[in-house]
Symmetry: C2
Subunit: 333 residues, 2 copies
């Protein structure tokens, strides 16, 4: 293992401690459980709270998007493991400002189960909740079963849009509808080049022979849709973009927001080589790029690889993407 850590069992808590020490102006632990993190100014009276959560190991997902114009709080699990329903419930109470709470997280069984349980607990305390799950991973299920897809990097778009809506004072129903609308128009596909090593066990998240790549691999190493020799950046971009265009049914004249995301070990340089090709393809098809993001937005520890996400935008979605936001890992004002 090539990791800068202490006791593997303390990895998640020490990382959270580091975030709290580094960003006390932005985030806080509202109670005694360090796995619950909320905006420093939470709860905001009269505003919808947005709660996300999931396993650790994906920074800046999920903790990095807690802040102004983004999420209000996060419940944090162990590496690649769901937070508990109790942690989610604690976070719910901490961000509830009287206008209800939107649960917005990736579509994974454990997360769904625990968020649903927490929602029942919240109801008993008269905190209304609604749920929208990110399900943008095109490779995980075909289009006709898209509601079963896993959620990956594209959830960033939903955070950004729903967060802007909550910030301006939209109701719970409105914020949820906006999140749902964005999720519905988001698609992501990734490529993996090397696995994550689990800090606790030293095990790999998947096995891939030297010189091979896996298209459509999940951020926990879930199987993809094609494994073969590593191709050029342009060929990889062509595969991913073709799938995304088909899935979102994009045609000439459409506008998209693009996110080229690094999964961990892949250098920023390579993400720009990918972006270049994405830009060329879309421009060639007369699909315009209304907004772009290039960097690490959702990782899998030190996994090498990248993903490409598209959000089909209209004026309303674009305006929400352009609204100001400020969190430990994302600032655009």
């Amino acid at each position: 293992m090539k990791k800068i850590i202490n006791e593997p069992d303390r990895f998640v808590d020490e990382m959270i401690e580091g975030i709290l020490l580094a960003h006390p102006d932005l985030v806080k632990t509202p109670g005694t459980d360090p796995r619950v993190l909320v905006r420093a100014d939470a709860p905001l009276a009269g505003r919808v709270g947005i709660l996300t959560g999931g396993g650790s190991g994906h920074l800046p997902l999920f903790k990095g998007y807690v802040g102004m114009g983004l999420c209000s709080g996060v419940a944090i699990g162990n590496v690649f493991s769901s937070p508990s329903s109790q942690q989610i419930f604690e976070a719910t109470k901490a961000i509830s400002g009287g206008a209800g709470v939107l649960y917005l997280y990736g579509n994974y069984g454990g997360d769904v189960f625990n968020f649903d349980l927490a929602g029942d607990l919240a109801e008993l305390e008269d905190i209304p909740t609604q749920t929208v799950v990110g399900r943008d991973d095109v490779a995980s299920q075909p289009n006709e079963r898209k509601t079963d897809r896993r959620g990956v990097a594209g959830i960033f778009f939903a955070y950004k849009a729903a967060g802007a809506a909550a910030e301006r004072g939209d109701t719970l129903e409105e914020v949820a509808a906006i999140a749902e609308d964005v999720v519905e128009h988001t698609a992501t596909m990734g490529v993996g080049l090397s696995p994550t090593i689990f800090p606790t066990t030293g095990a790999k998240s998947f096995d891939l022979p030297e010189g091979e790549m896996e298209i459509g691999i999940g951020i926990h190493g879930e199987p993809g849709i094609h494994r073969g020799p590593l191709e050029t950046a342009d060929a990889i971009a062509d595969r991913l973009v073709t799938a995304l265009i088909a899935d979102l049914d994009l045609t000439a004249g459409d506008r998209v927001a693009v996110l080229v995301n690094g999964l961990g070990a892949t250098p920023l340089e390579e993400l720009y080589v990918l972006y270049r090709r994405v830009h060329q393809i879309l421009t060639g098809l007369n699909i315009s790029i209304a907004k772009k993001y290039v960097g690490e937005y959702a990782t899998s520890l030190e996994m090498a690889g990248a993903s490409i996400s598209f959000l089909k935008v209209n004026d309303a979605r674009l305006a929400l993407l352009q609204a100001p936001a400020k969190s430990p890992f994302f600032e655009e004002v």
Copy 2:
């Protein structure tokens, strides 16, 4: 090689193409040479221009810091290679707004040679230049030969301070003095866990047996000062922080800005585990942390490892760090 690239020889140019396509609102190529990149609004009449440059493979160094409140332009070399004097000269002309140009870059032989040559060319065209070189790598030379040290991640502090000074209209002499003052009070030390692979040759930047670390290793794989079994994050932080405190002669009551920087493949989670310990040590010594940065600020492609930089601050330096800035990779307003 686990790289998402096309022809290795086209890697740098395609990466620059990607940056230009992604950020046309922030940066531009002023002439025909793609290796010269300047602020989209350059030249700024009456303002000092700040030019940086160096080899590729260190994103967000150097290209990522071209923008408002940071550098005015950059001359870009091949991976780990200096840009040419001609490229530096072209960039100088493109950012010259009549108030002179500060050359601000890392202390490496090829860069020094070519920037000096370009300065001579600029003088012939009546563009005054001054030079300040980043030389913060404590492990590269002892304190008594500190002017010979290599420049690494700590140059970010100099960009930030000098950029803020140029933005507010300081003279060339003033901007240079500020950069020099910041460089003088900056110290960095790193740890390497695995090497960079060169895209063109497939060679490693250094060899390190599995399970070992190298303290003080340079961002091109230059030898460090200690090689041994990989230690815990806390032990590594102790080593680095102890060296930095001694070098900057920090004592109780002093204030510092802290940069915990990832060298490429090391996850953000681990950087926060490191930050946690840095914070504990400094607080324990009654040295206060006036500003902190945690993330990838200067990398070495997919090298695993991290560095810690301190800038000893006073009110003037801190105010310059806090001034607004906006570039493709750094935004704080």
